[in-house]
């Protein structure tokens, strides 16, 4: 069953990645972070699948205990860390964008790449060393050891920090920006909402994992929920960040209409459409340059103009 979950996750994530890469007009810094996050989810699911199929279901391999299965386990732990640290990068990015420097120039993403791809090597290596020295069971399969907390501890810390950042953002949006910048505080709120939904979903499995209810029915429900939370994460992330995204839906609808019209009226490129909408906007409260660097602002801008094509974008909420 876990195999099904991970396979579905990989498929949906690859579709989302294809959408993000194909529609160049969607790309901005936040989408770049999404792309990296989805990549790490794809790799994590891939490693989990390989692990499940070749090692866990295969007692002969476990008995032979080749060094390859320990290397596989190490990479699995590394990818798990990458997942959660990329979620943390998303949270930090939003925090920097909204709370720290509201009228921000484009951020340099190097540090995010370091935190997302580079840093998870640290807990994974420490876990490998500790496991080799103190609990060197076959293929490192056992979950009875507290040494797993070497990896899960930093992950939980990252989730907690992420949650703190996101709540801080919500606090700032609600209190400080509400009166002066009502329009875009709503917009940012929607941007934050998706991440705020995802972080507890991803983290709750660590919190409630030790507490399986005794009751048979409740225990089964618990098992199903944990199973979904653990193995369908990629699907959840892809759905909330990509498929429910108003901009993505708009872009897909436009592409579909384009194909339908075939040789029909050529639509203007999304980019040029945007630039005309900047000049046509009737918003006076917020400086225009802010909108260059946030994806959702373009959507909001579109909502305010009278351009007929952009009226189509009004459908669907902006989730992310």
């Amino acid at each position: 069953m876990a195999i099904v979950g991970h396979a579905l996750s990989i498929v949906s994530l690859l579709i989302s990645l294809a959408i993000f890469f194909y529609f160049r007009s969607l790309s901005c810094q936040r989408i770049t972070l999404h792309k990296n996050l989805f990549c790490s989810y794809v790799l994590n699911s891939a490693f989990t699948l390989v692990n499940l199929i070749t090692v866990v279901n295969n007692p002969k391999v476990v008995q032979r205990n080749p060094i390859g299965c320990k290397v596989l386990h190490f990479f699995h732990m590394y990818m798990l860390g990458c997942n959660y640290f990329w979620m943390l990068c998303e949270g930090i990015y939003l925090h920097t964008l909204i709370v720290v420097a509201v009228f921000a120039e484009e951020q340099h993403l190097h540090w995010y790449y370091l935190l997302g791809w580079g840093f998870p090597l640290v807990p994974a290596s420490i876990h490998a060393v500790a496991r080799k020295k103190y609990f060197d069971d076959n293929c490192w399969m056992s979950v009875e050891t507290h040494l797993l907390y070497v990896v899960h501890g930093p992950i939980m810390a990252a989730l907690l920090v992420n949650l703190f950042f996101l709540l801080n953002i919500v606090r700032v949006l609600v209190t400080k920006l509400r009166d002066t910048h009502r329009a875009e505080s709503n917009m940012y709120m929607k941007a934050v909402r998706a991440t705020l939904i995802l972080v507890p979903l991803l983290g709750i499995q660590f919190v409630i994992f030790p507490w399986r209810p005794e009751n048979r029915l409740a225990g089964e429900i618990y098992d199903y929920i944990m199973h979904i939370l653990m193995h369908y994460q990629g699907l959840l992330v892809a759905t909330i960040f990509c498929f429910f995204n108003g901009e993505v839906q708009g872009a897909l609808k436009r592409q579909w209409m384009q194909y339908k019209a075939q040789w029909g009226q050529r639509r203007r490129e999304h980019c040029s459409m945007r630039s005309t909408s900047y000049t046509a906007t009737s918003i006076t409260e917020v400086p225009a340059f802010m909108y260059h660097h946030d994806c959702n602002s373009e959507h909001l801008n579109g909502k305010q103009t009278e351009d007929s094509e952009l009226v189509a974008l009004k459908t669907g909420e902006t989730y992310a």
Binding site: C89, E105, Q107, L115, I126, L147, G153, A158
Partner: protein, 145 residues
């Protein structure tokens, strides 16, 4: 007539003795296993380094042979196996060879808390530090208005 009865008596005595030998499970059994089985086990264990006596991988074969040997002697001597003598025998063997092996030494177990603690706390602290670093650097690269 007297010689025949004498021979009969001798024969009878021999049979009784033999039957005693074959049906009794007395100290003869204990001596037998000491002689046949323990000698080989001693040789095997002497080959190993004393530190390896507590290692199951190294001793499992000779231990298995010892157990088998006691079983076969018991079959030969019509004894029921296991019995009290074989139990006492093994207690003596354990007392001599395995007396200072730790109880859970053969199971995989976590390191003590003194080692486990730092292994868990240090990555968490490094994570928090790294996060603070990234937040600080992304703050810096903007120039806050």
């Amino acid at each position: 007539m007297a010689s025949v009865s004498w021979r009969h008596a001798l024969f009878f005595l021999l049979v009784v003795n033999l039957s005693v030998l074959t049906t009794a499970c007395s100290s003869h059994y204990g001596n037998a296993i000491e002689e046949f089985c323990l000698a080989k086990f001693k040789l095997d264990m002497e080959v190993l380094d004393q530190r390896q006596w507590c290692s199951w991988e190294d001793t499992v074969e000779s231990y298995g042979e010892l157990t088998n040997c006691t079983f076969l002697v018991a079959l030969k001597m019509n004894c029921f196996w296991p019995n009290r003598m074989v139990d006492e025998f093994f207690i003596r063997v354990h007392r001599h060879y395995f007396h200072d092996c730790s109880m859970s030494g053969r199971l995989l177990h976590d390191p003590p808390n003194q080692i486990l603690g730092p292994f868990i706390v240090v990555p968490i602290l490094v994570t928090l530090l790294m996060t603070a670093l990234v937040v600080w650097r992304s703050k810096r690269s903007e120039g806050i208005i």
